[in-house]
């Protein structure tokens, strides 16, 4: 892979991951504000399924099967031929559809607008939520102190 392909892949991984993890209401609120929504055809209609999550023995050893997580997936093609895939956590077909259309739009000239109106806000939202939790965790960190024994 060339460096360009690497960075394209990394960018797509980022927005697809954001769509997978973001709560449905957060995505829908942003999507509802998008004025130009393209027409599309289904390549694969939304389908609810399970993915078996794996862990590793002792965190770093051999893989084992931990349990499943619900996932909804679908694929769309826009009229200009751009193909988009949605793989999102949970059982919302509507969320999967929006994720697939956004994935397709991110490969068209609409990408800049979608990035500014959907991807970046979702990223900021996730970061804010994670930071808020980390801040609460930090407040519960134990600060040990040693009693002075007064020997000097």
């Amino acid at each position: 892979m060339t460096d360009q392909q690497h960075s394209d892949t990394a960018a797509r991984q980022e927005w697809m991951g954001l769509m997978a993890r973001a709560p449905e209401p957060a995505i829908m609120e942003l999507w509802d504000a998008v004025a130009e929504r393209p027409a599309f055809d289904w390549l694969r209609k939304p389908e609810i399924g399970g993915v078996m999550v794996r862990g590793r023995t002792g965190a770093t050893g051999a893989p084992f099967n931990l349990g499943e997580v619900t996932v909804t997936r679908c694929s769309v093609v826009l009229q200009d031929g751009a193909v988009g895939h949605g793989y999102v956590q949970g059982r919302s077909k509507a969320k999967a559809e929006v994720a697939a259309v956004i994935d397709a739009m991110m490969q068209t000239p609409a990408a800049e607008v979608i990035r500014a109106t959907i991807i970046d806000p979702l990223k900021r939202r996730e970061q804010t939520a994670r930071t808020a939790r980390a801040a609460k965790a930090a407040a519960t960190k134990v600060e040990f102190f040693t009693m002075a024994r007064g020997e000097d």
Partner: protein, 363 residues
């Protein structure tokens, strides 16, 4: 043996209608919403996800509502639903080293890098009923401090440097999956861990406790316990690369166990491992203790004949859905079986009485 019994349809329909009414309870009291169960009974939701072996908080909350709070019944509902889902694939193994930790403690290293982070714990509470919760309306706020930005390293990493702890041998072998192939014995550690993580919390706890009380004691310290969210990543064939398909909350426990050495292994620390969906601390620690007890053979330890060392005993009885299915089936009609037993006992009784009678007459 069961025979088809006809004639109960009406009674069954009416029983289910009454069940629905009882589930709702007093209609003067507000109905519970799925969101309320998900947000305010989250540890029950976590248990149903862990033992139902399906991570979906809304579904688990629905199951708890439908089951009137009977968690094993709720787990049964989730297991049944799970079997209807097409399997899209298997995730890459989650990297718990990148966990966004809400809680992270070590009982072995006070000054571990990353610190002792208590998180939202019941520990150090006085276990006194809080009658303030019986009144409505309080929305407490937790204090905050400067958040940690970087990943929190695993405690066992520090012991590895000294070569004093057994190494976990990395591999990318495909693990067995007991949801696809029935368990067979002897099994292996990946299958044991899959079985334990979905096993009944009470059973796994009891087994772990038995090791602490001396039935194959394994001298466990909680080297580390961490709770938080990790991303779940899967290879997508149509893309040709992996993407995050979501994130799950996990509880991970690594025990560090004293080990005198055996015929095959030098003295060192050994390890037990627990990893469970949700905030499931008791289960995760128990899982790690039982995992360690079941590793006796690979470590060249003696088989002490303790229940927790017997993988067939532990794994065959850990699943509460299998157990409850077999246990509760005996309440279903067994009229024909019982009739034949009744005939048999009557016959034996007649024979015994016939044997006794002449003796009595002779005396």
């Amino acid at each position: 043996m069961y025979v088809a019994v006809k004639g109960g349809e009406k009674a069954i329909d009416n029983a289910h209608a009454w069940l629905a009414e009882e589930r709702r309870g007093d209609t003067d009291v507000d109905e519970l919403s799925i969101a309320q169960i998900r947000e305010q009974l989250s540890l029950a939701v976590n248990r149903v996800m862990a033992e139902g072996s399906l991570y979906d908080p809304d579904l688990a909350a629905l199951a708890i509502k439908q089951a009137r709070g009977d968690l094993i019944e709720a787990i049964f509902l989730i297991r049944a639903y799970r079997t209807t889902l097409p399997r899209f694939g298997y995730s890459n193994p989650v990297d718990t080293g990148t966990m966004r930790c809400d809680r992270r403690i070590s009982a072995t290293f006070k000054d571990a890098p990353g610190g002792q982070v208590l998180g939202p714990t019941f520990d150090y509470t006085h276990r006194l009923l809080d009658f303030k919760l019986a009144a409505d309306g309080d929305a407490p706020h937790a204090p905050v401090a400067a958040p940690r930005q970087e990943d929190t390293p695993h405690i066992t990493e520090f012991l590895k440097g000294e070569d004093i702890i057994q190494d976990e041998v990395f591999s990318d072998d495909t693990p067995g999956d007991l949801t696809r192939e029935p368990m067979a014995f002897p099994s292996n550690r990946p299958l044991r861990l899959q079985s334990l993580t979905r096993g009944d919390e009470g059973f796994v706890l009891g087994m772990a406790y038995s090791t602490q009380r001396g039935y194959a004691r394994n001298h466990a310290f909680v080297g580390e316990l961490r709770i938080g969210k990790v991303s779940v990543e899967m290879d997508i064939p149509e893309l040709g690369f992996a993407i995050d398909i979501g994130e799950v909350e996990l509880t991970e426990c690594e025990t560090v166990n004293q080990f005198q050495g055996s015929k095959t292994e030098p003295p060192q620390f050994t390890r037990g491992y627990g990893l469970v969906f949700g905030q499931s601390e008791r289960k995760s620690i128990a899982m790690a203790l039982v995992d360690r007890a079941l590793r006796w053979e690979e470590l060249g330890e003696d088989n002490l004949g303790a229940p927790a060392q017997d993988e067939e005993f532990v794994l065959s009885h850990a699943d509460n859905i299998q157990a409850t299915g077999f246990l509760e089936h005996i309440k279903l009609p067994h009229y024909v079986d019982f009739l034949s037993e009744l005939e048999l006992v009557r016959k034996l009784r007649r024979e015994a009485e016939a044997r006794m009678a002449p003796k009595e007459a002779a005396e």
